[in-house]
Symmetry: C2
Subunit: 229 residues, 2 copies
C-alpha cells in the first residue's frame, strides 16, 4: 500500500465517523423533540437510527484496526486513529442514551403532561450544541472549539441539578405525577451523559491535534504526553 492509499483509507474512516456523528445528532434531536413538541411518532426514528449507529461503530473499529495492522502509522496519524477509535465508542454510547431518552419520552408521552417541562428544553438545546461543537471541532481540527465544549459541561451539569430539584419539588406536592416526574429526571440524567460524551470527544480531538491528554486534569492545565508529532 502506498502512502497515498493510507491517506485515502484514513479519509474514508473520518467520513464514516462524521456520518455516524450525524446520525447520533439526529437521534438526540428526535428523542428530545418528541418529548418537547409532543411528537411521539418521531421516537421510532430514534430506534431506526441506532441500528445504523451500531453498524457504523463496528465498521469504524474494524477500519481502525486494519489501518493499524496494515500500516505503521506514527505520531499524528497514530493519534488520529486512536482518537477515531475512542470517538466512535463515545458516539455509540450517545446512541444508547438517545434510545434511553426515547424510551422515557415514550413513557412520558403516554401519561398526562406535567405543567412545566422546566429547563429540559434548554438543557436539550445546550447538549445538542455540545454534540455539534465536538464533531465540528473534529472536522475543522479546531482546538479552540474543542476547548469551548469543555467549558459548557458545567452549564449542562447545573441545568441537570436544577431540573432534578424542580421536578422533585413538583412531584412532592403533585404525587400523582411521580412516574411522569421520574421520566423527566431520567431524561435529564441521560442528556447529562450525552454532554459528558461530547466532552470526551472534545478531549480526544485535543489529544489528536496536540498530543496532550487533558482527561482527568483541572481544565486548562493539560499534561504533556510523549507522542508529540
Amino acid at each position: 500500500m502506498s502512502e497515498r492509499h493510507f491517506d485515502v483509507s484514513l479519509r474514508e474512516l473520518k467520513d464514516k465517523l462524521l456520518v455516524m456523528g450525524g446520525y447520533v445528532e439526529r437521534a438526540i434531536e428526535y428523542a428530545t423533540q418528541a418529548l418537547i413538541e409532543f411528537h411521539p411518532e418521531k421516537l421510532k426514528l430514534v430506534y431506526d437510527i441506532e441500528a445504523q449507529v451500531n453498524r457504523l461503530h463496528k465498521e469504524i473499529d474494524e477500519g481502525c484496526v486494519n489501518l493499524l495492522a496494515l500500516q505503521q502509522p506514527m505520531a499524528a496519524d497514530l493519534r488520529l486513529i486512536v482518537a477515531v477509535l475512542k470517538i466512535s465508542t463515545d458516539l455509540e454510547r450517545m446512541g444508547d442514551h438517545a434510545v434511553n431518552i426515547a424510551d422515557n419520552s415514550g413513557r412520558y408521552l403516554n401519561g398526562p403532561p406535567l405543567k412545566p417541562l422546566i429547563d429540559l428544553p434548554k438543557m436539550a438545546t445546550e447538549v445538542r450544541a455540545m454534540v455539534r461543537m465536538s464533531l465540528d471541532a473534529f472536522v475543522q481540527r479546531a482546538e479552540t472549539l474543542a476547548r469551548e465544549v469543555l467549558v459548557r459541561e458545567d452549564l449542562v451539569d447545573s441545568l441537570k441539578n436544577k431540573i432534578f430539584k424542580d421536578v422533585l419539588e413538583y412531584i412532592k406536592s403533585n404525587t400523582k405525577d411521580i412516574e411522569q416526574g421520574l421520566s423527566l429526571i431520567l431524561i435529564a440524567r441521560n442528556l447529562e451523559r450525552v454532554g459528558d460524551h461530547s466532552t470526551n470527544i472534545a478531549e480526544d480531538v485535543i489529544y489528536a491535534l496536540t498530543g496532550e491528554d487533558i482527561r482527568h486534569s483541572p481544565r486548562g492545565d493539560g499534561l504533556k504526553e510523549v507522542l508529540k508529532s
Copy 2:
C-alpha cells in the same frame, strides 16, 4: 527493541489493567456496602480510589499508544492492545458510576432509611460478580467465562426493572420518602450501567481472543472479523 522487550511491555500493561480492575471492583464494593450495611465512612474510600483509577486510565492509554508506535504488533497482539485500550475506558466509566453510586448512597444515608432496600443488595452482588468475571476472563483468557458474563446482563436488567417498579410503588404510598426512593432508583440505574460495561469488557475479551466482534449482535451469533490470527 527486541521481541522480548515487547512481551515485557505488554505484560506490564496487562498487569496495570488488572490493578485498575481491582480498584474498580473495590470502589463498587465500598459504594454499595456503604449503602447496604450503613457504613457511610466507606464512601470516602470510593472517591480516593477513583483518583487512582483515573491515573491508571491515562497511564494505560499512553502505554498502548507507545506500544503501537514503537512496535508493529500484528493480529493477536494488535487485537490485545486495542482490547486493553477499550477495557481501560470501560473501567474508567465504571469508576465514574461508583462515584455516582457513592454520591447517591451518601444522600440516602443522610435521610431516614426506607424499610425495604428491596432487591438492591441482590443486584449489587450480581453486578459485582459480572465485574469480577469479566476481569477473570481477561486474565485467564477464558472465552467461556466471557460468554457467561453476557448471559448475566439479562438478569441484572430484570432486577433493575423490578427495583424501579417496587420503589415507585413504595413512594407512591409513602410520599415523604420520594427523595430516598429516587436515590435508590439512581443507584440501580448506575449499577445497571456497571453491568453494561462488564458486558463490554467481556465482548472485548472475546474479540482479543478470537478476533470475533460480537457487539450489537444477537447473542451467540457473532460476526467473523477480518483479523484472525
